[in-house]
Amino acid sequence: MAAVGKTHATRWGVVNVVVVLYALFPVWWIAALSFKEPSTLTDGNYIPREWTWENYRGIFKTSEFTRALINSIGIALISTVIAVVLGTMAAYAVARLRFPGKRVLIGMSLLIAMFPPISLVSPLFNIERIVGIFDTWVGLIIPYMTFSLPLAIYTLSAFFREIPWDLEKAAKVDGATPAQAFRLVIAPLAAPGVFTTAILVFIFCWNDFLFAISLTSTRAARTVPAAIAFFTGSSQFQQPTGSIAAAAVVITVPIIIFVLFFQRRIVAGLTSGAVKG
């Protein structure tokens, strides 16, 4: 019995290692590139022969990258806050109140979540130039609503279905209005779901590339993924490979932190809506 258990465990161990390697190898590769000396960049080694912070120093010296980093953080944060606030209101109504049009709302957010972003790029390009928000934060936050808001509504509705709503009834018996019950009783209970949704929405905004290259033209609003694609190297005789790798690692760090700390929640958030809905 013990022997069988052991081979069983070994087999699963091997499978697990394969899965982890599959998931991490490309990440490791670009991280390795980012720590290589320019002269050893092309050696194809998985581990840098000599470790250097040179590439990181290089990108943080240019406003091209630092400005893009600020843009990325600001735009993603603001989009997340707006989407989560509006989404929480709508999802609360969907989970809790009886009113016609609920199914239409969920259906509509699903439909909009499937929207091909390229279909919005050409009209938005023209509208934003006319209105004067092309190449601004607002000009990116607006299109980010197209995917962040449906995602928020959808995920939050799934989370809110799990909340013990009897507590709200108790609050109402004690004389709270529906609005008060929402603010004082349900909102704190809903916080974990809201937080998870915020992480997911942030990751989606952080990830965007198409809107970021289409609706910006200078570093005023260009986010990191778009800025990387236009990197030319710290000096004009240098290939941008090292800088790109370093910048890529920098914007991967928050994702890895989220995943490490909130793995369980993210999995729950990603799957609850899709299966039960």
């Binding site: 919005l120 793995q263 899709a274």
Partner: protein
């Protein structure tokens, strides 16, 4: 709704009148609840419509114009002639078939790999947390970052994977090898999402059913194909729908890996190029509208499939 249920016509007997008053009182509460519901939803609805319905309507309008961004003064209504131009151009059909190829192949591979991954995550006896954490990284990582990693890996003189190939080969510069590498990048990035959706479906398969099948002498393979898969059908369909629509929009990976060169561009790449390289707003918008219609058709086909498949599955079990 409750107003329509109100008894009409002949005066109701006293008992019913009492009930009617109750209902009227109820419907006052219901009306308040309904108003609050709409009030809470309205900002989200208004924003969603403003950021999608209005631009797509404007895209339709632009697609009916001859509109070159270099000569905006010469913009002119030309009816459907842009659609004629796009639909009769080999560029559109080339991009369309490339997109369909990438979508079909990558989603098929993802389904198989994702199912394997889901089974590993579901069944593994230790390290479940670390496997899930590792698997979330490809899902969460910025697509552009992953695409650059792949691009460098396949670039001769730079990458570890290119060294495995016969020297002198540059796989990203030939249509078919490049297409497969795009599929690979896409599969690597999105299989975890597929796996997580399937994992959630897998968790809904009752353990007792599996034990019963085992007692009845079903082999592992039979249990998987005859018990697990049919029970997971709804989860699989949802995962397929999500991934198909997502794959059809593919842009980031292609833009970084090949920029659409060597006939590897998707429809999204074509739309982008027409807008920003050719500066043709009319044609670019036409392509935007056509992609929107294509996505709509795929979604509609899937929903029809759902309607046909889901109730049947319920009747059987």
């Amino acid at each position: 709704m409750s107003m329509q249920a109100e008894p009409a016509g002949a005066p109701p007997p006293p008992e019913a009148k009492q009930a009617g008053q109750d209902r009227a009182a109820l419907s006052a509460g219901a009306r308040q609840e309904r108003r609050l519901g709409w009030l809470l939803c309205s900002p989200a609805v208004i924003v969603m419509l403003a950021v999608t319905a209005y631009p797509i309507g404007y895209a339709v309008y632009l697609s009916l114009q001859r509109y070159d961004l270099r000569f905006p003064a010469q913009a002119k209504f030309v009816g459907l002639s842009n659609y004629g131009a796009v639909l009769s151009s080999t560029f559109w059909w080339q991009a369309f078939w490339v997109t369909l190829f990438i979508t079909g192949v990558s989603v098929a591979i993802e389904l198989v790999l994702g199912m394997g991954l889901a089974l590993v995550m579901h069944r593994t006896i230790f390290g479940r947390g670390s496997v899930r954490t590792a698997v979330l990284i490809p899902y969460g990582i910025v697509t552009v970052v992953a695409a650059f990693s792949w691009q460098y890996a396949w670039t001769p003189q730079l990458g570890y994977l290119a060294e495995l190939l016969p020297s002198g080969s540059a796989p990203l510069t030939h249509q078919w090898s490049a297409l497969w590498l795009i599929v690979l990048a896409e599969v690597w990035k999105t299989t975890p999402f597929m796996a997580l959706l399937l994992l959630a479906g897998l968790a809904l398969v009752p353990e007792e059913t599996l034990k019963a099948a085992m007692v009845d002498g079903a082999t592992a393979r039979q249990r998987f194909f005859k018990v697990v898969l049919p029970l997971m059908k709804p989860a699989i369909l949802v995962a397929l729908l999500f991934r198909t629509l997502d794959a059809f929009r593919i842009f980031d990976n292609i833009y970084i890996l090949t920029s659409g060169a060597h006939e590897t561009g998707s429809v999204s790449i074509l739309g982008y190029d027409n807008l920003f390289t050719a500066l043709n707003l009319g044609i670019g918008s036409t392509i935007s509208v056509l992609i929107f219609i294509a996505v709509g058709i795929i979604a509609f086909a899937f929903v029809k499939l759902f309607g046909a498949a889901a109730p049947g599955a319920e009747v059987k079990r």
